[in-house]
Amino acid sequence: MFEKIWAAHEVVPESAETPAVLYVDLHLIHEVTSPQAFTRLRSRGLSVRRPDRSLATLDHATPTDTQQVFGGVPIRLESAARQIAELERNAAESGIELLGLRDERRGIVHVIGPELGVTQPGMTIVCGDSHTSTHGAFGTLAFGIGTTEVGHVLATQCLLQRKPKALAVEVRGKLSRGVGAKDLVLAIISQIGVAGGSGMIIEYRGEAIRALSMDERMTVCNMSIEAGARAGMIAPDETTFEYLRGRPRAPSGADWDRALVAWRQLPSDKGAAFDREAALDAADVEPMISYGTNPGMTIPVGGNIPMRDDEAFLKALRYMGFAPGEAIAGKAVDIVFIGSCTNSRLSDLRAAATLLRGRKVARGVRMLVVPGSQQVKRAAEAEGLHEVFTAAGAEWRESGCSMCVGINGDTAAAGRYVVSTSNRNFEGRQGQGARTLLASPVTAAAAAVTGRVTDPRELMA
């Protein structure tokens, strides 16, 4: 599949002297990694070559506080307000469509692409964000780039790339009850390691992958970068097509029929060769949680922190305030964050709400629920999910990256424990000195209810 998409986008093939010139079908843009690219473009007297193949939104530094988004209250962080204003200006000057602050289609860049149907099988998609791998769930070649490359795409709609290697990750069998896509991808990362996919594109395959919904496939592909792989992909199938059918920017009518014919040709041919292969059994995966400071440091919620004595491991545990060999279940929790491009879609909110319904967030615990997009927010409200969250005592906020990256003002204080549905538990990621425990939406909701790390299956009827 990867080879087919690569070949269809090669403008100039690679040679010993030069990398391939690779065509980019869709360039997604946000406020944090784009300003310097537009500045550089201007200083070289260049303009945006294909604004029609670009789509911009506001998510990373954008407030999730309703008053600041809709209530006319000024954006509290001045630097964030400047970045937002700068993207508004850059988009307007270059003719790029911006789903702006109060646009009902705004949201996290990796949530809105699929939601609007702009993400389609067989495409190449890039964005100045490492979680661009999310879009690979649709059988697209999608990866994160730096700001210099954002400038290259703005100016030429192309990138210079050497062809990466391919890693197949096969997931056999079926996931058990109470175990979801987040648990699966955390298990994959802990098996292959945080650099296990370096220099590679991962193709996820097998029975358990085929059984996942699109939301779940996005969760898996999203965290490919956490295994060191720039991109993760899943072959498109009927699940993919059903998701896309009728989306506002998906093809329609005769175009849809033509698209289907093309998309059905994308999956890897039988016997396609991979540079490396890995496999695991879905039945072995349990609800997972991280205990350390990288996404490879995860264990089953019912498990114990490993016994190791190397300095890096002990440093991570010191930061977390944990000791080798301890059980992770029962650890006290201060904040629960449901959100991020990993787990903020409607099905994630439904899963968390199912567990929270009729229950309360434990005393002393702060819970934030941040939908991935304004459309996710409205859809959740139409089902009454917001009432479940607010009745439980959680905050129901506007969409954005929020406490996943902590640059919009949504942060945790030093020493606090955050059970988070996001993707990175790096030191300081959610605030200076804050301690992150990565988990699925149901495990996060269970922690909110008990105020402790809890196996969600204990609270499921």
Binding site: V12, V21, T156, L160, A195, G228, F426
Partner: protein, 196 residues
């Protein structure tokens, strides 16, 4: 971009594996619209304590690190976010090369585009460098070798086009722009896998 041929310096050694870009450039400094002067934020949470005072034991803060332009890092350096602020901050601080056994893909690419040389050496050379902080090392980009103080040389891989750009101080955009006719021709072809 300045041309690079040789980098000769004593090394700073940061042996930790999996140093992510959130450590190199903490996220709270990302709401900048500039790419200049970012060294203030470099390793901010390791260089400074919560009150902003220097942490004297952190390697960058030791007197012997002053003026060093080569960083020897643990494996998988620069993992995590795609933020180019990480190589910008390192370069602004005066670092011109990072030596490791593995460097995360996006960081590696971003470094190349900013005159920060990502140098991958064999495990034996790496172990020697980790064990000898402050060693005087010479990186020869044209020959793609790292010369240790005892005269031993270790080769490192460097993609041909990136080497060309670094040696001549040119960026890749000029080359991409020179291929515009091919790009336009590609756009005229019917797309094979997308209906657009």
């Amino acid at each position: 971009m300045q041309a690079i041929r040789r980098i000769r310096s004593r090394t700073i050694v940061l042996p930790a594996a999996d140093v992510d870009t959130d450590q190199i450039f903490p996220a709270r400094f990302l709401t900048t619209t500039s790419r200049e002067g970012l060294s203030q934020a470099l390793f901010a949470d390791w260089r400074f304590d919560a009150s902003g005072a220097l942490q004297p034991e952190f390697v960058l803060n030791r007197t012997e690190s002053t003026g060093c332009s080569i960083l020897v890092a643990g494996r998988n350096f620069g993992c995590g976010s795609s933020r180019e602020h990480a190589p910008w901050a390192l370069h602004d601080y005066g670092i011109r090369a990072v030596i490791s056994t593995s460097i995360a893909d996006i960081f590696f690419n971003n470094a190349l585009k900013n005159g920060l040389l990502p140098v991958l050496v064999d495990a034996e050379t790496h172990l020697w460098l980790l064990a000898h902080p402050g060693a005087e090392v010479e990186i020869d980009l044209e020959a793609s070798t790292v010369k240790l103080p005892d005269g031993r040389r270790a080769g490192f891989p460097m993609e041909a086009f990136a080497r060309h750009c670094l040696l001549h101080g040119v960026d890749e955009l000029g080359y991409l722009l020179s291929r515009l006719p091919a790009i336009e021709a590609h756009e005229r072809k019917p797309a094979r896998h997308s209906p657009a």
